[in-house]
């Protein structure tokens, strides 16, 4: 690791680091634009000039391009370099419109800061400025090309890093233009990263245009709640309204990138129908009253019928702390251990993932560095979008990517796809030595240096993950073959840890149906959406004597609850999520809970706060509500220490701070012995597989209005050969008959999907919302609409 001196200060940088990295490490500001830690250096902007006094290349150099060397002497203050930087600053600014007062970037603009840093202040150029017509890039990203300084970071982000194919740089000389071939919405699922990476105000967040100055924003480091990866994010808002989400930085997980559903899908937090008041049988009441009533009824119930008649349901979107307290509540009332996912198959997948020894779990960073990645039953862009970015980085570095999945997968990189049905995948995994493909893959995994197996919990279930774990063990001879399980929600893994101790053969719906259960408490979950058979679940819920729901989303179950208590969202309280690789990550509150002032003040200006509720009645966090029931007076820190005492594998929990890289759990002990028999359909029987849609299927996206432009039209997919055998044509209207109902849908041909199966994406707000991904495929029949009539 080279040790060098910059402006008389000595610093050690990592091997391969540049002089600019060294300066940044010392806190010396050398202005720069084209360099970004996640993208590397290209020397395009010429802004980062320094003088190398001692070293193999002496003189005025671009700091980002010169590798740090031992005993190097660097100065940032030599007259020539200072003048050079000021000139480059002036030159980059010649065409700039000086429109900072109307630019959303103002106040957090690298161009503002570094132009001043470069020493350019007074404009001398008096000629005409180059101007552009901007493009309409869709609802997410606004473009203002006149502010461009040609650093090329946007193309390097959109095209090189994220693999987008509809964005580029056109023209030459004074006319270079960064955009699309024609106006139209950006197609990449990672388009929003342009906003973070452009150092000026060319690309800004269109969903939050002209609304808040960066210095007026309340911000706090947080964790994305949209899938199980737990990417670090930096949400911001004000006046009780969540206004935007930017990527946080965690080099072990998402690096500096997030997906569009995370960035533009946060307005569920401000949903106009968000339930914010306690209710008893639908009537608004003050929350202390509702809480006391709940306690009273619970006590009475337990006294009369015993704790056995009470069930508790936690959730993958509730914090780990809340889920743990739920367990304590179960103990207090003598109720059976809580369920942590209303969907039994997903819950098993989470328990299985949580039982994988910590050392065998891969991080996204390890994925980016892998040389052979085998995807088994996972659609990254739908289930864990930033995973697709990690795959692309691995592929760019030469890794091979092989996918076994029935869906017509798309990835932003080259990959080999074997479209096997869910059943043949599971069957193959159960006897991999008899399966030619798996056997040859096993050999390749054995000979690669850093192989990773990615397993989709949704398609494989717990049983499949268990088989995958065995498969991975069979291919680690000299080195580990790591596993990257993909789960359902931000805290599925946490639920998996907590759920591992319960009696695994129980099943919530059977419990409810057998009539002994009288009360259910749901914490931040709607079992009628999450369970694999929503209709059946709804019926079971309606038979309960007491249904208590703590939530912040306007679900149907909230509306039908006997006792409802509103909770804070993750943007309004602190807590911890455990992501799919067992990384504990803390989040901090960004906002106070309460109705956004845009609503209470009807958008008037200046914004005024009007309370429509009595003071003190704002929602509490689920943790707070549960602690009240438990008479537990610990603060969050005390609570975490208490958790550590009980669950030593979480021993680093009290050392977490929001915004850090998180900490891996230690091994939780014994491997899970649990196993479930699943009946896998035979090839040849026509079955339909409900899958996670690219947008709308996750826990929060369905209540996010800004994402609706991305929702697909409902359809049923079929392989063209399969369709031809049955005499169907592409686009034809068909009737799909299944146990959950029959549906009139257009038939869409997908040449890259598995044969012998139909696929339906689960889309909220459409008839297809009754399907839940995460189960096995269902028997079905399909007719043309005409025949059916």
């Amino acid at each position: 690791m080279p040790t060098l001196t910059i402006d008389n200060q000595t610093v050690i940088v990592a091997e391969g680091g540049s002089v600019l990295d060294a300066a940044i490490a010392l806190g010396i500001v050398v202005p720069h634009y084209c360099y970004h830690p996640a993208l590397g250096a290209v020397g395009a902007c010429r802004q980062c000039a320094v003088t190398i006094l001692e070293g193999s290349q002496k003189g005025l150099k671009m700091a980002c391009l010169i590798p740090a060397e031992d005993d190097m002497q660097v100065s940032t203050c030599e007259e020539e370099a200072v003048a050079f930087r000021a000139q480059v600053g002036e030159w980059l600014m010649t065409n700039h419109p000086h429109d900072c007062p109307v630019c959303d970037e103002g106040g957090e603009c690298q161009l503002q800061e570094m132009t001043i840093g470069a020493g350019h202040g007074i404009r001398r150029y008096r000629g005409n400025k180059r101007t552009y017509l901007n493009q309409d890039l869709g609802p997410f990203v606004a473009q203002e090309m006149n502010r461009c300084i040609q650093c090329y970071r946007c193309v390097r982000t959109y095209k090189d890093y994220c693999g987008g194919e509809d964005f580029g740089v056109m023209g030459s000389q004074q006319r270079v233009f960064f955009g699309r071939f024609k106006d139209g919405p950006l197609e990449s699922d990672f388009s929003g990263n342009l906003i973070d990476f452009c150092p000026t105000g060319v690309f800004t967040d269109r969903t939050n245009r002209f609304r808040t100055r960066s210095w007026d924003l309340q911000q706090a480091p947080s964790i994305c709640p949209h899938c199980s990866l737990g990417c670090s994010i930096l949400p911001g808002g004000r006046y009780q309204e969540l206004q935007r989400v930017r990527a946080g930085g965690n080099r072990l997980t998402n690096d500096s990138f997030i997906c569009d559903r995370a960035r533009f899908g946060s307005d569920w937090n401000n949903h106009p129908k968000r339930p914010r008041e306690a209710r008893i049988s639908g009537e608004k009441v003050e929350f202390p009253y509702a809480l006391e009533l709940l306690e009273e009824r619970l006590e009475k119930l337990v006294e009369e019928y015993g704790g056995e008649t009470l069930r508790l349901l936690g959730s993958p979107r509730a914090s780990f702390e809340a889920n743990l307290l739920l367990k304590k509540l179960a103990e207090k009332y003598g109720a059976p251990a809580p369920y942590y996912d209303a969907h039994p198959r997903r819950a098993f997948a989470a328990r299985m993932a949580a039982s994988i020894p910590s050392g065998q779990l891969a991080s996204l960073k390890q994925l980016r560095e892998s040389d052979l990645i085998l995807l088994v039953g996972v659609d990254p862009l739908a289930e864990a979008p930033v995973l697709a970015l990690a795959l692309r980085q691995a592929a760019r570095a030469g890794a091979r990517i092989v996918a076994l999945d029935p869906r017509p997968l798309e990835l932003p990189c080259d990959f080999e796809h074997h479209p096997l049905t869910q059943e043949s995948l599971l069957r193959g995994l159960s006897a991999p030595e008899e399966n030619e493909l798996l056997e040859s893959l096993r050999q390749q995994l054995e000979t690669s240096q850093r192989p990773v197996l990615v397993g989709g919990g949704e398609l494989l279930g717990g049983e499949g993950l268990r088989l995958l774990l065995h498969f991975s063990e069979s291919c680690c001879g000299s080195h580990d073959c790591l596993i990257f399980p993909v789960l359902h929600g931000p805290n599925s893994f946490g639920g998996g840890i907590l759920g591992a101790t319960g009696d695994s053969n129980r099943n919530l719906i059977e419990d409810l149906e057998n009539g002994n259960v009288r009360a259910l408490i749901c914490v931040e979950t709607d079992p009628a959406i999450e369970h694999s058979e929503p209709g059946r679940m709804q019926l079971a819920l309606s038979r309960l004597e007491l249904l208590a729901v703590f939530d912040h989303l306007p679900t149907n179950t909230v509306a039908t609850a006997d006792i409802f208590l509103p909770t804070r969202t993750i943007y309004e309280c602190a807590g911890t999520f455990i992501n799919n690789e067992g990384r504990m990550q803390a989040f901090d509150p960004v906002l106070e809970p309460g109705i956004p002032i845009v609503v209470t003040g009807s958008g008037g200006h200046p914004p005024r706060q009007f309370e429509t509720t009595p003071p003190g009645s704002a929602p509490r966090s689920a943790v707070h509500l549960l602690q009240w029931l438990l008479k537990d007076r610990n603060d969050l820190f005390g609570l975490r220490r208490q958790i550590i005492k009980e669950l030593p594998c979480l021993r680093d929990l009290d050392r977490l701070a929001a915004g850090d890289n998180g900490r891996r759990i230690a091994d939780c002990g014994d491997t899970l012995e649990e196993s479930r028999t699943e009946i896998w359909a035979q090839e040849g029987e026509l079955q339909v597989l409900p899958i996670t849609a690219r947008y709308g299927s996750d826990l929060y996206s369905r209540w996010s209005q800004s994402l609706t432009s991305r929702f697909e039209e409902p359809s049923v997919w079929i392989h063209p050969v399969e369709a031809a055998e049955r005499g169907f044509v592409n686009g034809q209207k068909v009737v799909l008959r299944t146990v959950v109902g029959h549906f009139h849908l257009p038939l869409v041909f997908k040449a890259k999907m598995a044969r012998g199966r139909l696929i339906v994406p689960c889309l909220p707000g459409t008839p297809l919302e009754v399907f839940t991904p995460g189960g096995l495929s269902l028997p079905c029949k399909i007719y043309s609409e005409v025949d059916n009539a």
């Binding site: 509809d166 056109m170 030459s172 071939f181």
Partner: protein, 162 residues
Amino acid sequence: MKKLLLKKEIDAFRKKAQKLEHPREMVIDLLRAIQDHFGWVPDAGVELAADILGVPPIEVEEVATFYDKIYRQKVGRYPIHICDSICCWIRGGEEIAAHLQQQLGIKLGQTTSDGLFTLLPTCCLGGCGRAPSIMVGKRFYGHLTCDGLDQIIAQLREEAVG
């Protein structure tokens, strides 16, 4: 309506693209062919090229807009590139440009109303030894004088009629 390319040319390009490891190396040839045929490259030309090469249209557009000899807007029958680089400038390039504008009654970047000539400034035609110079279509003219220019224009006008 003029076609972008003849069907047999399209087929030939497709065939060739299949054989190449990196079909995009044909992008200039393809754009040139479309331009020879159509006079310039409209959006549909970029899309056709992208389709033949199997790349997204933006990748063709990046190349098409980079080179000033690929016309992404309608030009006259004789696009005239006037060199404004340093050698031509020293040897009277500015007068050449002024003279042409005056004679044709258009400014740089414009096309004469009869659709014959378009004036385009260009940075270096590679004929510094024969400065000042222009290029008309693919024909290069060096050692220019104002009189010489008038002759060239007259010749081209005749050619157009004949």
